[in-house]
Symmetry: C2
């Protein structure tokens, strides 16, 4: 393990990537991302598809995290700061006291990722889901039920947004994901790779319990409210989760859990 | 509809119950609660088990909400304030511009509520779930899958906490709920009323897909992390949701959705 490097000046250039975390969340980090909290840090260091670049810890967390940081190579520096300096760096009170900077893995595109999957595979395909809690929750469920990948259209939020990683309990760092190219037809792409597309909608034609799992299955999910675009719904097999009369509203992350659980059994 | 009553002074005693909304969320409101947003307001006025006492709206929302407020009796006053006054009353920028004050329905206690349920009934019983998002999400799923009631122990947060109502999309106002008396044994109470208790745990003995629905079924859920107390788990039929190897963590609201969906089909 490299020696822990003390940081006394919030403007120290070595920790520049951690400055004003929230503001940078909004503008993006060009190939980098910030992860926070112990559970997520553990996954970033031990199981992630993405590469840790450095850690920034509250001084009082350093000792307890030593078992985790001891194995780190020298090129992943561990910075530590007192609470006041830490809060001044990130721009808000960082209760957890644990941040890490990571570099994204190369992103193969949806077609490239589908081409790497095994003959029996389960994917979630997300359209217009901009809410970080929901995207994080869907990744958590994808990991729980062994989904092979998550595909996203450009209307979705970044799974490596800090809050999405946290809500996913780190699954956003482990489940492979890729973006649909806006110029390609998602249904055509899925069909070309032999995936049956199941489009979830409160008015879907088949009840989920009656869906037999195809070897390659893709679960299409839209945002709460508008749902999936009609242009997709009309061309895919539409599936509904039956609900009580007068109620047609499930959280989209909960929906993903119900559907992936069903398909993972099948 | 009563005439809309303009409020120009944040200290006007008529809107005292709306002052410093967040601080009062923390201390409780002795039989009252605050609901916010249009979807929740609609449910409070049209389908709630609880009674609306008054509304406080941003001036610029009044006209659009007229179809909803027109039928209100005179004893439910509608107050309206400009943005600056409204924000000064509630203590933060109230983007939605819609609040309502309600009075809780009488609370029969868990045994009293169970006694009113039909011969075939489904309930969720929550233990130590203090997170408002999770309690709200569980109520949303309870409504979606037609659960008859939610029971809570004293370690759970109040379902009529403002944020829990919002996350439940108003279901916290419609699904009957009651608290376990700390002096009573929840399992004995459920058994006395003929409910099979299904205790959810990652290490549960029966896979969910193999659970046949009893006429009266109770789904026992604990908080994320500690889960259900051993004393409950050991005495109930334990049920697991099978997950991918190395992953044993589902969000508890998602868990409730998966289990209630399964039992609602059965």
């Amino acid at each position: 393990m490299p020696p822990v490097i003390p940081i006394d000046d919030p403007d120290d250039p070595r920790i520049a990537a951690y400055r004003n975390v929230r503001e940078r969340d909004l503008v993006g980090r060009e190939g980098l991302f910030i992860a926070e909290g112990e559970v997520v840090l553990r996954i970033l260091l031990q199981h992630s598809r993405h590469r840790p670049l450095s850690l920034l810890l509250a001084e009082n967390r350093v000792a307890a995290l030593a078992p985790l940081t001891t194995g780190l190579p020298d090129e992943v520096p561990v910075y530590a700061a007192g609470r006041a300096v830490l809060d001044a760096i990130v721009g808000f009170p960082l209760h957890r006291g644990i941040l890490a900077l990571g570099r994204r893995a190369a992103e193969p595109g949806a077609g490239g990722l589908l081409a790497t999957l095994p003959p029996r595979a389960l994917v979630a395909a997300l359209f217009g889901i901009g809410n970080h809690d929901n995207v994080g929750g869907i990744f958590r469920n994808a990991a729980a039920f062994g989904a092979d990948a998550v595909l996203l259209d450009r209307g979705c939020c970044d799974p490596l947004y800090r809050k999405a990683i946290r809500v996913s309990v780190g699954a956003a760092l482990t489940v492979p994901f890729a973006w649909f190219d806006p110029s390609e037809d998602p249904l055509e792409l899925l069909a070309r790779h032999g995936f049956e597309a199941l489009a979830l909608s409160p008015r879907g034609g088949t009840a989920l319990a009656d869906v037999a799992r195809a070897d390659r299955a893709a679960v299409l999910l839209g945002s709460e409210g508008p749902g999936l675009p009609d242009a997709l719904l009309e061309r895919a097999r539409s599936v509904r989760i039956p609900m009580a009369p007068g109620f047609d509203s499930l959280n989209v992350a909960t929906t993903s859990g119900i559907v992936l659980h069903h398909l993972a059994q099948g």
